[in-house]
């Protein structure tokens, strides 16, 4: 269920677009709903967003599956969104992702046993100058090395 607070937040975004263009707020709506649901979406929520914005549900699904920032399976408390595009890859992102997977005993897309961290490969986050890089929450971590990753993970609670 979408809470009333979430609906209020969605309404704020809807109000930014001209009358009758509710569907323009679909990305924000999905983001809000995903956050409220602990970081992931499910078919029921997608249905509800579609109803709320008066859109065909498949159109919401198209958006929700196109962008990497929506998750369709439950995620950990923190999601390590690791860039694997060209600049990061040339700077060794593949090796770091494997290191992360081994350390957390997960594969990308899975949640660590304690439910704290999940790892996701994402497309370019626009910080090529700092590659290899990843995003956790609203924070970018750049010029990553194994040591840096160890420290970052230690700080996650």
């Amino acid at each position: 269920m979408i809470s009333n607070e979430a609906k209020k937040e969605i309404d704020f975004w809807v109000s930014k677009y001209p009358e009758g263009r509710k569907s323009s707020a679909v990305m924000q709506a999905l983001t809000i709903v995903q956050k409220e649901n602990g970081g992931s979406l499910n078919p029921d929520l997608i249905n509800e967003v579609a109803d709320y914005l008066e859109m065909p549900v498949i159109s919401v699904q198209e958006v929700a599956t196109f962008y990497e920032n929506y998750n369709h399976k439950p995620v950990g408390k923190h999601v390590v969104r690791f860039c694997h595009n060209i600049s990061c890859m040339l700077n060794g992102s593949d090796e770091l992702i494997s290191y992360l997977e081994d350390k957390l005993e997960v594969k990308t897309g899975q949640v660590s046993k304690d439910g704290l961290v999940s790892v996701k490969k994402v497309e370019c986050l626009g910080a090529c100058v700092g590659g290899p890089m990843c995003q956790i929450g609203d924070q970018y971590y750049e010029h990553l090395t194994k040591e840096k990753l160890d420290n970052i993970l230690e700080d996650l609670t």
Binding site: P43, I46, P56, V57, I58, S59, Q61, E62, T65, F66
Partner: protein
């Protein structure tokens, strides 16, 4: 639009500013390969197959999305264009399974055709191909999404034509999948057209799967007879059986589309209950016999039971052909009986033909307003509804007066929920409002009516409309005051200068009216026929369980000892076996030649697509022989064309509506409105397995509002007259709206 001149492949061509290059090429007969472009859908330009070379433009451009400009020099076949097209083809084939030998589309596949010309025999791509799991989208369409090339024609068809967005492209990059959100199956009544628009074998016909190869089949031009439109179709048969029906282009009737009912109903032809041999009932036991004996038995029975000629009743379903209607009425009238009717599903019968429509099909899409009274147009007359939807896309508003708010595929502006027993007074209120607002004189019968708010809104829209239409639909047939209602609608239309689209009748009813397949003089109609005097019946394709508005009294009358019933029928079921004394097996749809007269009055003839199975014979031939055996003169025709020509000479009788005849109904009582779902419309459709298993085919609900449910003690999922109840606020108060494929029980 200004005229321009361009050069395509060396030909100078005139065109309008803004025409796409591909549409000009198509007009000129220049072949440009394409997958995503479809003349009736929006331009997506995502397959890139139609790349052409334009002089002065460095890269090849897609012909579908590039508008022609004056002086443009286009080359569709030079090295640059061919190189681009071949490169795209190679990309498109990267993930295509190339499983043509086991693909139903093989032989009629656009990808196969284009690959023959533009494909290479070696691919540079040697990695694994992707596989897409199939979700399953219902009983009508088979999906093999691994074959999909993401042209999005089906997605655009849903959004733009069907009006229900069901398919979509999810994921991104190599992971893109064309799929519906859930696996509940497609809801659209036009879904089969996705099969036609799909350029590859991703969407194919499920009932047709592995039945035949396209080049093995014999295609015959035919006309669909399930609704008033008479959509143009091809029937494709293999070894004497209809295996598939596809659309045939006709812009003034069905454009490029046909409804699922027209497309998939053929399955009923091969149903196990086909009547294959003549049968007679002797001492209550059914015996198979030959034609000669059966006909003699039938004729003797008629002669012995209808001692006076007016003791014979002749009834036919509204789906018979013009020729059959004509011969049946001629037989009856030569015999001396005026007891003739085809209007089996109406509560009140007029003395003449039904209210004439004053608009034609292609005009409907340009109306600025439509008022729909008593119809779920989307399911009842899909192609007419499609035109209304097109009008709404151009800004037309639609109001409805129905006993339930239906899922139209367009937005309605104002829905006046009206229970059947209140429709007459509601229309009086609308008429009064119209009169008040336009300062017209008010006739006596509505003088003391005070229009309610919603009826004022409806009247306002009618008056404001310059070019609108009032659509009156099937639901009026079961209304006890249907004649008075239709009369009122006519008055409203003339007071507001609106056109009328009468879709209360369906099938081939216009043919029946053309040849006066209704009683005249003292003749009895389909309601009054079931009295003690009528002792012999001749029925054509009539199922007494489904077709009569009062099926109980019809069935009761037919099964009386002293009533003799001759049934010309394509099928044998319990109700036919119970009510008939002779079954004469008749050819069904697509098995005999005939003529259909559609909504526009257009006369369309068709020839037989296949031979009828077993010993069954075309209906018109059976009647002709019966007339011979009854010693009736003037029915010795050589072929059906002769019958048709004579039939078209007839002129129909106009109706004179008796206004005084208004039934007073206690409108506080709860009424039951029994409405057949669309796939119960005729004997063939009722036996089409896949249609019955589709979403529309499984409609079986008694809808009732909370208040009314409380009043008559119903709750969710109770059975009401054998139909499960749904409590919804979309139903008029004091009304139970039953929408079902089950035979009528009330």
């Amino acid at each position: 639009m200004s005229e321009i001149e361009i050069e395509i492949d060396g030909h100078l061509v005139k065109a309008s500013q803004g025409d796409s290059i591909i549409s000009i090429a198509d007009r000129e007969g220049i072949d440009v390969p394409r997958f995503c472009y479809h003349k009736k859908l929006s331009v997506a330009a995502n397959c890139r197959m139609c790349l052409v070379d334009i002089e002065g433009v460095p890269k090849a451009q897609p012909a579908c999305s590039t508008p022609a400009a004056n002086g443009m020099k286009i080359n569709t076949k030079n090295d640059k264009a061919k190189f681009a097209q071949k490169a795209v083809m190679e990309f498109l084939l990267i993930n295509h399974p190339l499983d043509c030998p086991i693909c139903d589309q093989g032989g009629e596949c656009e990808l196969q055709d284009v690959a023959m010309e533009y494909g290479s025999d070696v691919s540079k791509f040697n990695l694994g191909k992707r596989i897409v799991p199939d979700k399953g989208i219902g009983a009508l369409i088979q999906t093999d999404m691994t074959r999909c090339i993401h042209c999005t024609r089906c997605v655009r068809f849903g959004a733009e034509v069907a009006g229900i967005v069901e398919m979509g492209g999810t994921g991104r990059g190599e992971g893109v999948k064309i799929e519906p959100f859930l696996t509940e199956g497609i809801q659209s009544e036009l879904s089969g057209n996705m099969i036609d628009v799909c350029p590859v074998g991703a969407l194919t016909s499920k009932p047709f799967r592995y039945e035949a190869r396209t080049w093995q089949m014999n295609a015959v031009q035919s006309v669909a007879r399930h609704d008033l439109v008479g959509s143009n179709i091809y029937t494709q048969s293999y070894r004497g059986k209809v295996k598939r029906v596809v659309a045939r282009d006709n812009d003034s009737i069905n454009e490029t589309w046909i409804s699922d009912r027209d497309r998939f109903s053929y399955e009923g032809l091969n149903h196990e209950s086909r009547a294959l041999k003549p049968k007679i009932k002797v001492d209550g036991e059914w015996q198979e016999t030959d034609w000669q004996q059966a006909l003699q038995f039938a004729v003797d029975g008629i002669k012995n039971n209808a001692i006076n000629p007016d003791q014979l009743g002749v009834l036919a379903s509204k789906h018979a052909s013009l020729e059959e209607f004509y011969l049946m009425q001629k037989l009856a009238r030569k015999f001396g009986s005026e007891n003739i009717d085809f209007r089996l599903d109406q509560t009140q019968l007029s003395t003449g033909s039904s209210l004439e429509s004053s608009i034609n099909l292609s005009e409907i899409e340009s109306v600025d307003h439509a008022l729909i009274i008593g119809s779920y147009t989307r399911l009842e007359q899909p192609m007419i509804n499609h035109r209304i939807r097109k009008a709404t896309l151009d800004g037309a508003s639609v109001n409805t007066m129905n006993s339930k708010n239906f899922d139209f595929n367009f937005k309605t502006k104002c829905d006046a929920l009206t229970a059947p027993q209140k429709l007459l007074s509601a229309l009086q209120s609308v008429l009064k409002a119209v009169h008040l607002k336009t300062n017209q004189d008010t006739p006596n019968d509505v003088s003391d009516v005070t229009p309610s708010e919603i009826h004022n809104i409806i009247a306002d829209d009618l008056i404001a409309s310059a070019n609108g239409v009032i659509v009156l639909g099937e639901h009026l047939n079961s209304n006890p005051n249907s004649l008075a209602i239709i009369n009122l609608i006519e008055k409203i239309a003339s007071a507001t200068n609106l056109k009328i689209a009468n879709i209360t009748i369906s099938g081939n009813s216009h043919s029946a009216e053309k040849v006066n397949f209704i009683p005249s003089g003292n003749g009895l109609n389909a309601i009054s026929m079931f009295n003690d005097n009528t002792k012999a019946f001749l029925l054509m394709d009539v199922d007494s369980e489904y077709d009569f508005i009062d099926s109980k009294s019809a069935q009761g009358h037919f099964s009386k000892e002293d009533v003799f019933v001759v049934a010309l029928s394509s099928f044998e079921n319990q109700s036919t076996l119970r009510s008939a004394d002779v079954i004469l097996p008749m050819a069904s749809f697509y098995e005999s030649s005939g003529t259909h007269i559609n909504f526009d009055g257009l006369v369309q003839s068709y020839s037989a697509s296949v031979k009828s199975p077993g010993e069954s014979k075309p209906g018109w031939k059976i009647i002709k022989v019966m007339a011979d055996l009854l010693d009736l003169q003037g029915l010795d025709y050589v072929d059906s064309t002769q019958v048709k020509e004579e039939a078209l000479q007839s002129s129909k009788v106009k109706s004179s509506v008796d206004e005084a005849n208004i039934q007073s109904i206690d409108d506080s009582q709860v009424t039951t409105h029994w409405q057949y779902a669309p796939y119960a419309s005729d004997s063939v459709t009722r036996r089409a397995k896949a249609l019955q298993e589709s979403n529309v085919g499984m409609i079986n609900r008694a809808y009732v509002s909370k208040m009314t449910a409380h009043k008559i003690g119903l709750s969710d999922d109770d059975l009401y007259l054998g139909v499960p109840v749904s409590i919804e606020e979309s139903v008029a108060v004091d009304c139970v709206f039953i929408h079902t494929n089950q035979a009528r029980r009330a």
